[in-house]
Protein backbone atom coordinates (compact mmCIF):
# COMPACT_ATOMS: atom_id res chain seq x y z
CA UNK A 1 0.00 0.00 0.00
CA UNK A 2 1.49 3.31 -1.01
CA UNK A 3 0.09 6.31 0.80
CA UNK A 4 1.55 8.74 -1.70
CA UNK A 5 -0.59 7.30 -4.43
CA UNK A 6 -3.75 7.64 -2.43
CA UNK A 7 -5.56 10.83 -3.18
CA UNK A 8 -7.39 13.01 -0.69
CA UNK A 9 -6.71 11.42 2.66
CA UNK A 10 -8.35 13.05 5.65
CA UNK A 11 -8.63 12.60 9.38
CA UNK A 12 -12.22 11.88 10.27
CA UNK A 13 -13.41 12.31 13.86
CA UNK A 14 -14.86 9.00 15.01
CA UNK A 15 -15.54 9.72 18.66
CA UNK A 16 -15.00 12.34 21.34
CA UNK A 17 -14.24 10.90 24.78
CA UNK A 18 -15.39 13.11 27.62
CA UNK A 19 -14.84 12.66 31.32
CA UNK A 20 -11.64 14.42 32.35
CA UNK A 21 -12.40 17.63 34.22
CA UNK A 22 -9.11 19.35 33.35
CA UNK A 23 -6.59 19.28 30.53
CA UNK A 24 -5.60 15.85 29.23
CA UNK A 25 -1.82 15.52 29.08
CA UNK A 26 -1.05 11.94 28.15
CA UNK A 27 -2.33 8.96 26.19
CA UNK A 28 -1.16 5.35 25.84
CA UNK A 29 -2.64 2.49 23.82
CA UNK A 30 -2.35 -0.89 25.50
CA UNK A 31 -0.01 -2.79 23.12
CA UNK A 32 -1.56 -6.17 23.96
CA UNK A 33 -5.04 -5.11 22.86
CA UNK A 34 -6.79 -4.13 19.66
CA UNK A 35 -6.54 -7.52 17.99
CA UNK A 36 -9.36 -9.49 16.35
CA UNK A 37 -10.13 -11.04 19.73
CA UNK A 38 -9.24 -8.34 22.27
CA UNK A 39 -10.91 -4.91 22.20
CA UNK A 40 -8.51 -1.97 22.10
CA UNK A 41 -7.70 -0.23 25.39
CA UNK A 42 -6.48 3.34 25.81
CA UNK A 43 -5.22 5.02 29.00
CA UNK A 44 -5.37 8.79 29.48
CA UNK A 45 -4.19 11.09 32.27
CA UNK A 46 -4.31 14.76 33.09
CA UNK A 47 -4.60 17.82 35.24
CA UNK A 48 -7.57 16.40 37.18
CA UNK A 49 -5.07 13.99 38.85
CA UNK A 50 -6.85 10.96 37.40
CA UNK A 51 -6.03 8.17 35.00
CA UNK A 52 -8.88 6.91 32.85
CA UNK A 53 -9.10 3.61 31.04
CA UNK A 54 -11.14 3.55 27.84
CA UNK A 55 -12.10 0.36 26.08
CA UNK A 56 -13.50 -0.42 22.67
CA UNK A 57 -17.04 -1.82 22.97
CA UNK A 58 -16.10 -4.86 20.87
CA UNK A 59 -13.18 -5.65 18.56
CA UNK A 60 -15.22 -4.53 15.55
CA UNK A 61 -16.79 -1.47 17.16
CA UNK A 62 -15.63 2.11 16.65
CA UNK A 63 -17.02 3.19 20.05
CA UNK A 64 -15.05 3.48 23.26
CA UNK A 65 -16.42 3.48 26.80
CA UNK A 66 -14.78 4.62 30.01
CA UNK A 67 -14.02 1.43 31.94
CA UNK A 68 -12.25 2.83 34.97
CA UNK A 69 -11.35 6.12 36.64
CA UNK A 70 -8.28 5.84 38.87
CA UNK A 71 -8.50 8.74 41.26
CA UNK A 72 -6.46 7.92 44.31
CA UNK A 73 -3.04 7.18 42.94
CA UNK A 74 -1.67 10.71 42.63
CA UNK A 75 -2.13 13.96 44.52
CA UNK A 76 -1.18 16.25 41.63
CA UNK A 77 -1.34 16.31 37.81
CA UNK A 78 -0.66 12.98 36.12
CA UNK A 79 1.61 14.09 33.31
CA UNK A 80 2.12 10.87 31.35
CA UNK A 81 1.47 7.15 31.32
CA UNK A 82 2.98 4.11 29.62
CA UNK A 83 1.97 0.45 29.33
CA UNK A 84 4.42 -2.33 30.00
CA UNK A 85 4.99 -4.24 26.70
CA UNK A 86 2.83 -7.16 27.93
CA UNK A 87 0.00 -4.71 28.58
CA UNK A 88 -0.55 -5.95 32.14
CA UNK A 89 0.84 -2.93 33.96
CA UNK A 90 0.54 0.80 33.50
CA UNK A 91 3.16 3.23 34.80
CA UNK A 92 2.03 6.80 35.59
CA UNK A 93 4.29 9.84 36.10
CA UNK A 94 3.03 12.69 38.24
CA UNK A 95 3.84 16.21 39.34
CA UNK A 96 3.61 14.78 42.89
CA UNK A 97 7.20 13.53 42.30
CA UNK A 98 6.22 9.87 42.17
CA UNK A 99 5.75 7.23 39.52
CA UNK A 100 3.07 4.63 40.19
CA UNK A 101 2.78 1.12 38.80
CA UNK A 102 -0.82 0.01 38.33
CA UNK A 103 -1.79 -3.56 37.66
CA UNK A 104 -4.97 -4.75 36.04
CA UNK A 105 -6.98 -7.00 38.33
CA UNK A 106 -10.20 -8.02 36.60
CA UNK A 107 -11.96 -4.76 35.81
CA UNK A 108 -9.97 -2.82 38.40
CA UNK A 109 -6.49 -1.42 38.56
CA UNK A 110 -4.50 -1.59 41.78
CA UNK A 111 -1.41 0.41 42.61
CA UNK A 112 1.25 -2.25 43.25
CA UNK A 113 4.26 0.01 43.58
CA UNK A 114 5.21 3.66 44.03
CA UNK A 115 8.60 4.82 42.79
CA UNK A 116 10.02 7.69 44.79
CA UNK A 117 13.28 9.52 44.40
CA UNK A 118 12.83 12.48 42.09
CA UNK A 119 12.98 15.82 43.89
CA UNK A 120 10.00 17.29 42.09
CA UNK A 121 7.60 16.83 39.13
CA UNK A 122 8.03 13.57 37.20
CA UNK A 123 7.17 14.29 33.59
CA UNK A 124 7.57 11.10 31.66
CA UNK A 125 7.97 7.34 32.06
CA UNK A 126 8.99 4.69 29.54
CA UNK A 127 9.44 0.87 29.55
CA UNK A 128 12.16 -0.76 27.49
CA UNK A 129 11.22 -3.32 24.82
CA UNK A 130 11.46 -6.34 27.12
CA UNK A 131 9.79 -4.68 30.10
CA UNK A 132 12.84 -5.26 32.32
CA UNK A 133 13.78 -1.59 32.67
CA UNK A 134 11.87 1.60 33.35
CA UNK A 135 13.06 5.18 32.87
CA UNK A 136 11.65 8.36 34.45
CA UNK A 137 12.59 12.03 34.15
CA UNK A 138 11.84 15.17 36.11
CA UNK A 139 12.13 18.91 36.52
CA UNK A 140 15.05 18.05 38.81
CA UNK A 141 17.08 17.64 35.54
CA UNK A 142 17.69 13.93 36.19
CA UNK A 143 16.81 10.75 34.39
CA UNK A 144 16.45 7.63 36.54
CA UNK A 145 16.72 4.06 35.30
CA UNK A 146 14.90 1.42 37.33
CA UNK A 147 15.30 -2.32 37.12
CA UNK A 148 12.12 -4.36 37.39
CA UNK A 149 12.61 -7.08 40.02
CA UNK A 150 10.27 -9.93 41.01
CA UNK A 151 7.52 -9.07 43.49
CA UNK A 152 6.80 -5.60 42.12
CA UNK A 153 10.13 -4.29 43.34
CA UNK A 154 11.84 -1.53 41.40
CA UNK A 155 15.48 -0.87 42.00
CA UNK A 156 17.12 2.36 40.86
CA UNK A 157 20.20 1.32 38.89
CA UNK A 158 21.30 4.72 37.65
CA UNK A 159 20.67 8.45 38.11
CA UNK A 160 21.69 10.20 34.93
CA UNK A 161 22.76 13.80 35.18
CA UNK A 162 23.66 15.75 32.11
CA UNK A 163 20.73 17.88 31.14
CA UNK A 164 21.04 21.45 32.40
CA UNK A 165 17.26 22.03 32.64
CA UNK A 166 14.11 20.02 33.22
CA UNK A 167 13.77 16.83 31.21
CA UNK A 168 10.50 16.73 29.30
CA UNK A 169 10.39 13.17 28.03
CA UNK A 170 12.20 9.82 28.14
CA UNK A 171 11.76 7.12 25.53
CA UNK A 172 13.51 3.76 25.07
CA UNK A 173 14.57 2.69 21.60
CA UNK A 174 12.06 0.11 20.23
CA UNK A 175 14.59 -2.72 19.78
CA UNK A 176 17.88 -1.88 21.55
CA UNK A 177 18.31 -0.93 25.23
CA UNK A 178 19.36 2.64 24.49
CA UNK A 179 17.50 5.48 26.18
CA UNK A 180 16.63 8.91 24.78
CA UNK A 181 15.70 12.02 26.71
CA UNK A 182 14.72 15.50 25.54
CA UNK A 183 14.76 18.69 27.53
CA UNK A 184 13.97 22.34 28.17
CA UNK A 185 17.74 22.80 27.56
CA UNK A 186 16.97 22.32 23.80
CA UNK A 187 18.90 19.04 23.50
CA UNK A 188 18.23 15.34 23.05
CA UNK A 189 20.56 12.99 24.90
CA UNK A 190 21.30 9.35 24.10
CA UNK A 191 22.17 7.09 27.04
CA UNK A 192 23.70 3.61 26.82
CA UNK A 193 25.00 1.07 29.28
CA UNK A 194 28.75 1.04 29.61
CA UNK A 195 29.82 -2.59 29.17
CA UNK A 196 32.83 -2.21 31.47
CA UNK A 197 31.39 -0.42 34.47
CA UNK A 198 27.77 -1.58 34.27
CA UNK A 199 26.74 2.04 34.55
CA UNK A 200 24.85 4.19 32.12
CA UNK A 201 26.38 7.18 30.39
CA UNK A 202 25.52 9.80 27.82
CA UNK A 203 26.88 8.66 24.46
CA UNK A 204 25.56 11.51 22.34
CA UNK A 205 24.00 14.95 22.71
CA UNK A 206 21.99 16.30 19.79
CA UNK A 207 21.97 20.05 20.12
CA UNK A 208 22.03 23.17 18.05
CA UNK A 209 25.54 22.40 16.77
CA UNK A 210 24.27 19.12 15.25
CA UNK A 211 21.45 20.92 13.39
CA UNK A 212 19.29 20.34 16.45
CA UNK A 213 16.52 22.36 18.01
CA UNK A 214 16.77 25.97 19.16
CA UNK A 215 14.16 25.74 21.93
CA UNK A 216 12.58 23.18 24.30
CA UNK A 217 12.36 19.69 22.82
CA UNK A 218 8.99 18.35 23.97
CA UNK A 219 8.81 14.85 22.55
CA UNK A 220 10.37 12.18 20.39
CA UNK A 221 9.23 9.03 18.60
CA UNK A 222 10.78 6.21 16.59
CA UNK A 223 9.72 4.54 13.37
CA UNK A 224 8.92 0.83 13.42
CA UNK A 225 12.43 -0.43 12.68
CA UNK A 226 14.11 2.09 14.98
CA UNK A 227 16.53 3.49 12.42
CA UNK A 228 14.80 6.88 12.43
CA UNK A 229 13.65 9.23 15.17
CA UNK A 230 11.38 12.27 14.99
CA UNK A 231 11.63 15.09 17.56
CA UNK A 232 9.36 18.11 18.01
CA UNK A 233 9.96 21.43 19.68
CA UNK A 234 8.92 24.86 20.84
CA UNK A 235 11.03 26.11 17.89
CA UNK A 236 8.02 25.06 15.73
CA UNK A 237 9.98 22.40 13.82
CA UNK A 238 10.00 18.63 13.60
CA UNK A 239 13.40 17.05 13.01
CA UNK A 240 14.15 13.64 11.61
CA UNK A 241 17.29 11.82 12.73
CA UNK A 242 18.80 8.60 11.41
CA UNK A 243 21.22 5.93 12.60
CA UNK A 244 22.91 2.89 11.12
CA UNK A 245 20.70 0.31 12.78
CA UNK A 246 23.15 -2.58 12.34
CA UNK A 247 25.90 -0.79 14.24
CA UNK A 248 23.40 0.35 16.90
CA UNK A 249 22.33 -3.26 17.43
CA UNK A 250 25.93 -4.49 17.63
CA UNK A 251 26.59 -2.00 20.44
CA UNK A 252 29.08 -0.09 18.32
CA UNK A 253 30.13 3.15 19.99
CA UNK A 254 30.19 4.82 16.61
CA UNK A 255 26.50 4.27 16.10
CA UNK A 256 25.74 7.94 16.15
CA UNK A 257 22.52 9.68 15.22
CA UNK A 258 22.62 12.34 12.55
CA UNK A 259 20.21 14.99 11.41
CA UNK A 260 18.41 14.01 8.20
CA UNK A 261 15.94 16.83 7.69
CA UNK A 262 13.85 19.53 9.34
CA UNK A 263 10.13 20.05 8.76
CA UNK A 264 9.15 23.65 9.35
CA UNK A 265 6.28 25.95 8.50
CA UNK A 266 3.52 23.47 9.38
CA UNK A 267 2.60 24.50 12.93
CA UNK A 268 2.62 28.08 14.21
CA UNK A 269 2.72 27.35 17.94
CA UNK A 270 4.69 24.91 20.14
CA UNK A 271 4.63 21.31 18.90
CA UNK A 272 4.01 19.14 21.98
CA UNK A 273 3.70 15.65 20.59
CA UNK A 274 4.93 13.45 17.78
CA UNK A 275 4.19 9.81 16.98
CA UNK A 276 5.22 7.49 14.17
CA UNK A 277 2.72 4.86 12.96
CA UNK A 278 3.86 1.33 12.10
CA UNK A 279 2.90 2.12 8.55
CA UNK A 280 5.27 5.11 8.52
CA UNK A 281 2.99 8.11 9.02
CA UNK A 282 4.28 10.80 11.39
CA UNK A 283 1.56 12.59 13.39
CA UNK A 284 2.16 15.84 15.27
CA UNK A 285 -0.07 17.73 17.71
CA UNK A 286 0.55 21.33 18.69
CA UNK A 287 -0.58 24.40 20.61
CA UNK A 288 -2.15 25.73 17.39
CA UNK A 289 -4.94 23.13 17.93
CA UNK A 290 -3.93 21.34 14.72
CA UNK A 291 -2.81 17.83 13.88
CA UNK A 292 -0.43 17.29 10.95
CA UNK A 293 0.40 14.02 9.24
CA UNK A 294 3.64 13.53 7.27
CA UNK A 295 4.96 10.77 5.08
CA UNK A 296 8.37 10.12 3.54
CA UNK A 297 8.40 11.50 0.05
CA UNK A 298 9.54 9.37 -2.86
CA UNK A 299 11.64 12.04 -4.51
CA UNK A 300 14.85 11.48 -2.57
CA UNK A 301 17.38 14.20 -2.96
CA UNK A 302 21.10 13.64 -2.62
CA UNK A 303 20.82 15.03 0.91
CA UNK A 304 18.73 12.11 2.10
CA UNK A 305 15.05 11.53 2.69
CA UNK A 306 12.46 14.26 2.59
CA UNK A 307 8.96 14.30 4.04
CA UNK A 308 5.76 15.78 2.79
CA UNK A 309 2.56 16.82 4.45
CA UNK A 310 -0.12 14.18 3.95
CA UNK A 311 -2.85 16.27 5.54
CA UNK A 312 -3.44 18.90 8.19
CA UNK A 313 -6.47 18.95 10.46
CA UNK A 314 -6.99 22.52 11.61
CA UNK A 315 -9.04 23.01 14.79
CA UNK A 316 -8.77 19.33 15.61
CA UNK A 317 -9.51 20.43 19.19
CA UNK A 318 -10.77 23.65 20.77
CA UNK A 319 -7.48 24.13 22.63
CA UNK A 320 -3.81 22.97 22.63
CA UNK A 321 -3.12 19.37 21.65
CA UNK A 322 -0.81 17.69 24.15
CA UNK A 323 -0.58 14.16 22.85
CA UNK A 324 -1.14 12.24 19.61
CA UNK A 325 -0.88 8.45 19.59
CA UNK A 326 -1.38 5.99 16.75
CA UNK A 327 -3.13 2.75 17.53
CA UNK A 328 -0.52 -0.04 17.62
CA UNK A 329 -2.52 -1.91 14.99
CA UNK A 330 -2.13 -0.96 11.35
CA UNK A 331 -5.67 0.39 11.19
CA UNK A 332 -4.95 4.11 10.74
CA UNK A 333 -6.62 5.02 14.02
CA UNK A 334 -5.18 7.97 15.94
CA UNK A 335 -6.02 9.30 19.42
CA UNK A 336 -5.41 12.92 20.48
CA UNK A 337 -5.61 14.63 23.88
CA UNK A 338 -6.16 18.30 24.54
CA UNK A 339 -6.31 21.16 27.02
CA UNK A 340 -10.04 21.24 26.17
CA UNK A 341 -10.41 18.16 28.41
CA UNK A 342 -11.36 15.78 25.63
CA UNK A 343 -9.75 12.90 23.82
CA UNK A 344 -10.63 12.30 20.20
CA UNK A 345 -10.42 9.13 18.17
CA UNK A 346 -9.64 9.74 14.51
CA UNK A 347 -9.61 7.53 11.46
CA UNK A 348 -7.44 8.35 8.46
CA UNK A 349 -9.46 7.57 5.39
CA UNK A 350 -10.07 8.63 1.86
CA UNK A 351 -12.33 11.56 1.05
CA UNK A 352 -13.79 9.62 -1.88
Amino acid sequence: MNLLQEEGLQLREVQRLEGHTDRVWGLAWNPATGTAAIPAMLASCGGDKTVRIWQQRSPSSTSFDCKAVLEETHTRTVRSCAWEPSGKKLATASFDATTAILEQNGNDFDCVSTLEGHENEVKSVSWNASGSLLATCSRDKCVWIWEVLPGDEYDCVSVLQGHTQDVKMVQWHPTVDVLFSCSYDNTIKVWAEDGDSDDWRCVQTLGESNNGHTSTVWALAFNKTGDKMATCSDDLTIKIWGVDIASLQSGDDNASWRHLCTLSGYHDRTIFSVDWSREGIIATGAADDAICLFIESEDHSVDGPSYKLLCKKEKAHDMDINSVRWSPMENRVLASASDDGTIKIWKLDSTH
Binding site: R23, G47, R76, T77, R79, F95, N120, E121, K123, R139, D166, K168, Y184, S215, T216, D234, R269, T270, A287, D288, D318, M319, D320, D339, D340
Partner: protein, 167 residues
Protein backbone atom coordinates in the same frame (compact mmCIF):
# COMPACT_ATOMS: atom_id res chain seq x y z
CA UNK B 1 15.52 46.50 58.94
CA UNK B 2 13.43 47.04 55.87
CA UNK B 3 15.07 45.67 52.73
CA UNK B 4 16.51 48.27 50.38
CA UNK B 5 14.25 49.26 47.56
CA UNK B 6 15.06 47.61 44.25
CA UNK B 7 14.19 50.85 42.54
CA UNK B 8 14.11 53.76 44.94
CA UNK B 9 13.08 56.39 42.44
CA UNK B 10 10.74 54.95 39.88
CA UNK B 11 9.62 57.09 37.00
CA UNK B 12 5.91 57.72 37.42
CA UNK B 13 3.74 58.40 34.42
CA UNK B 14 0.33 59.95 34.30
CA UNK B 15 -2.56 57.62 33.71
CA UNK B 16 -3.87 57.79 30.20
CA UNK B 17 -7.31 59.34 29.73
CA UNK B 18 -9.57 57.10 27.76
CA UNK B 19 -13.13 57.45 26.55
CA UNK B 20 -15.81 55.70 28.53
CA UNK B 21 -17.13 52.57 26.88
CA UNK B 22 -20.75 51.95 26.29
CA UNK B 23 -22.31 49.49 28.70
CA UNK B 24 -25.70 47.77 28.76
CA UNK B 25 -28.24 50.49 29.53
CA UNK B 26 -26.34 53.22 27.67
CA UNK B 27 -28.16 54.83 24.78
CA UNK B 28 -25.52 53.74 22.26
CA UNK B 29 -25.13 50.22 23.59
CA UNK B 30 -25.85 47.62 20.98
CA UNK B 31 -26.45 44.27 22.57
CA UNK B 32 -26.41 42.55 19.19
CA UNK B 33 -22.94 43.74 18.31
CA UNK B 34 -20.38 40.95 18.29
CA UNK B 35 -18.55 40.78 21.58
CA UNK B 36 -15.16 41.78 20.27
CA UNK B 37 -12.26 41.50 22.65
CA UNK B 38 -9.89 44.37 22.05
CA UNK B 39 -6.84 46.01 23.51
CA UNK B 40 -8.82 48.11 25.96
CA UNK B 41 -10.79 45.13 27.21
CA UNK B 42 -7.58 43.24 27.98
CA UNK B 43 -6.13 46.34 29.59
CA UNK B 44 -9.21 46.67 31.77
CA UNK B 45 -8.94 43.03 32.79
CA UNK B 46 -5.31 43.52 33.74
CA UNK B 47 -5.49 46.93 35.34
CA UNK B 48 -7.94 45.79 38.04
CA UNK B 49 -5.21 43.67 39.44
CA UNK B 50 -2.32 45.90 38.46
CA UNK B 51 -3.55 48.45 40.98
CA UNK B 52 -3.28 45.80 43.59
CA UNK B 53 -0.05 44.09 42.66
CA UNK B 54 1.96 47.11 43.77
CA UNK B 55 1.32 45.99 47.35
CA UNK B 56 3.22 42.83 46.62
CA UNK B 57 5.88 44.17 44.39
CA UNK B 58 6.80 47.61 45.63
CA UNK B 59 5.19 48.14 49.02
CA UNK B 60 6.78 51.52 49.45
CA UNK B 61 5.74 52.89 46.11
CA UNK B 62 2.24 54.28 46.11
CA UNK B 63 1.91 53.68 42.40
CA UNK B 64 0.17 51.08 40.33
CA UNK B 65 2.04 49.14 37.71
CA UNK B 66 0.12 51.16 35.17
CA UNK B 67 1.59 54.36 36.55
CA UNK B 68 5.03 52.78 36.55
CA UNK B 69 4.41 51.79 32.92
CA UNK B 70 5.16 48.16 33.72
CA UNK B 71 2.26 47.60 31.43
CA UNK B 72 0.62 49.99 29.00
CA UNK B 73 -2.24 49.74 26.59
CA UNK B 74 0.17 49.93 23.69
CA UNK B 75 2.04 46.88 24.96
CA UNK B 76 -1.05 44.74 24.49
CA UNK B 77 -1.54 43.16 21.11
CA UNK B 78 -4.94 41.58 20.51
CA UNK B 79 -6.33 39.80 17.50
CA UNK B 80 -9.82 38.69 18.42
CA UNK B 81 -10.38 37.00 15.07
CA UNK B 82 -7.31 34.83 15.53
CA UNK B 83 -7.99 34.50 19.30
CA UNK B 84 -4.54 35.82 20.09
CA UNK B 85 -3.24 38.07 22.87
CA UNK B 86 0.31 39.19 23.47
CA UNK B 87 1.25 41.21 26.54
CA UNK B 88 4.69 42.78 26.73
CA UNK B 89 5.56 44.10 30.15
CA UNK B 90 8.46 46.23 31.32
CA UNK B 91 10.00 45.34 34.68
CA UNK B 92 10.91 48.51 36.59
CA UNK B 93 14.56 47.54 36.86
CA UNK B 94 16.81 45.29 34.80
CA UNK B 95 17.26 42.72 37.51
CA UNK B 96 13.73 42.73 38.82
CA UNK B 97 13.40 39.34 40.47
CA UNK B 98 9.66 39.73 40.53
CA UNK B 99 9.46 39.62 36.73
CA UNK B 100 8.43 35.95 36.65
CA UNK B 101 5.85 36.48 39.38
CA UNK B 102 4.34 39.49 37.59
CA UNK B 103 4.34 37.50 34.36
CA UNK B 104 2.66 34.54 36.04
CA UNK B 105 0.00 36.82 37.53
CA UNK B 106 -0.64 38.36 34.11
CA UNK B 107 -1.01 34.91 32.58
CA UNK B 108 -3.31 33.58 35.29
CA UNK B 109 -5.48 36.70 35.19
CA UNK B 110 -5.92 36.33 31.43
CA UNK B 111 -6.49 32.57 31.70
CA UNK B 112 -9.29 33.19 34.17
CA UNK B 113 -10.85 36.11 32.30
CA UNK B 114 -10.64 35.30 28.61
CA UNK B 115 -12.58 32.66 26.67
CA UNK B 116 -10.54 29.45 26.48
CA UNK B 117 -10.07 29.79 22.72
CA UNK B 118 -7.43 32.50 23.34
CA UNK B 119 -3.71 31.85 22.93
CA UNK B 120 -1.69 34.08 25.21
CA UNK B 121 1.98 35.04 24.98
CA UNK B 122 3.55 36.98 27.85
CA UNK B 123 6.88 38.64 27.15
CA UNK B 124 9.31 40.98 28.84
CA UNK B 125 9.89 44.06 26.67
CA UNK B 126 13.12 43.58 24.68
CA UNK B 127 16.16 44.95 26.45
CA UNK B 128 14.46 45.57 29.76
CA UNK B 129 15.56 42.55 31.73
CA UNK B 130 18.95 40.96 32.29
CA UNK B 131 17.69 37.42 31.79
CA UNK B 132 14.99 38.27 29.28
CA UNK B 133 15.15 35.02 27.28
CA UNK B 134 15.07 32.84 30.38
CA UNK B 135 12.10 34.74 31.82
CA UNK B 136 10.21 34.60 28.52
CA UNK B 137 10.87 30.90 28.11
CA UNK B 138 9.64 30.09 31.59
CA UNK B 139 6.50 32.24 31.33
CA UNK B 140 5.50 30.57 28.09
CA UNK B 141 6.20 26.96 29.05
CA UNK B 142 2.72 25.78 29.95
CA UNK B 143 3.96 22.70 31.75
CA UNK B 144 6.00 24.87 34.13
CA UNK B 145 3.06 27.22 34.56
CA UNK B 146 0.77 24.26 35.32
CA UNK B 147 3.25 22.90 37.86
CA UNK B 148 3.69 26.33 39.47
CA UNK B 149 -0.07 26.65 39.84
CA UNK B 150 -0.14 23.41 41.84
CA UNK B 151 2.31 24.91 44.31
CA UNK B 152 0.17 26.20 47.22
CA UNK B 153 2.60 29.02 48.13
CA UNK B 154 2.73 30.35 44.61
CA UNK B 155 -1.03 30.04 44.20
CA UNK B 156 -1.54 32.02 47.39
CA UNK B 157 0.77 34.72 46.11
CA UNK B 158 -0.94 34.85 42.72
CA UNK B 159 -4.41 34.85 44.28
CA UNK B 160 -3.41 37.68 46.57
CA UNK B 161 -2.23 39.65 43.55
CA UNK B 162 -5.45 38.96 41.73
CA UNK B 163 -7.88 39.74 44.55
CA UNK B 164 -9.55 43.05 43.83
CA UNK B 165 -8.87 45.60 46.53
CA UNK B 166 -11.82 47.58 47.87
CA UNK B 167 -9.93 50.40 49.47
Amino acid sequence: MAPALINANPVVYEKKERPARSRPGDADFNEYAADIIDQLEIFDILSTFLHHIRDIKDPEHPYSLEELKVITEDAIEVDDKRSYVRVTFTPTVEHCSMATVIGLCLRVKLMRSLPSRFKVDIKVAPGTHATEDAVNKQLNDKERVAAALENPNLVDMVDECLTPSYE
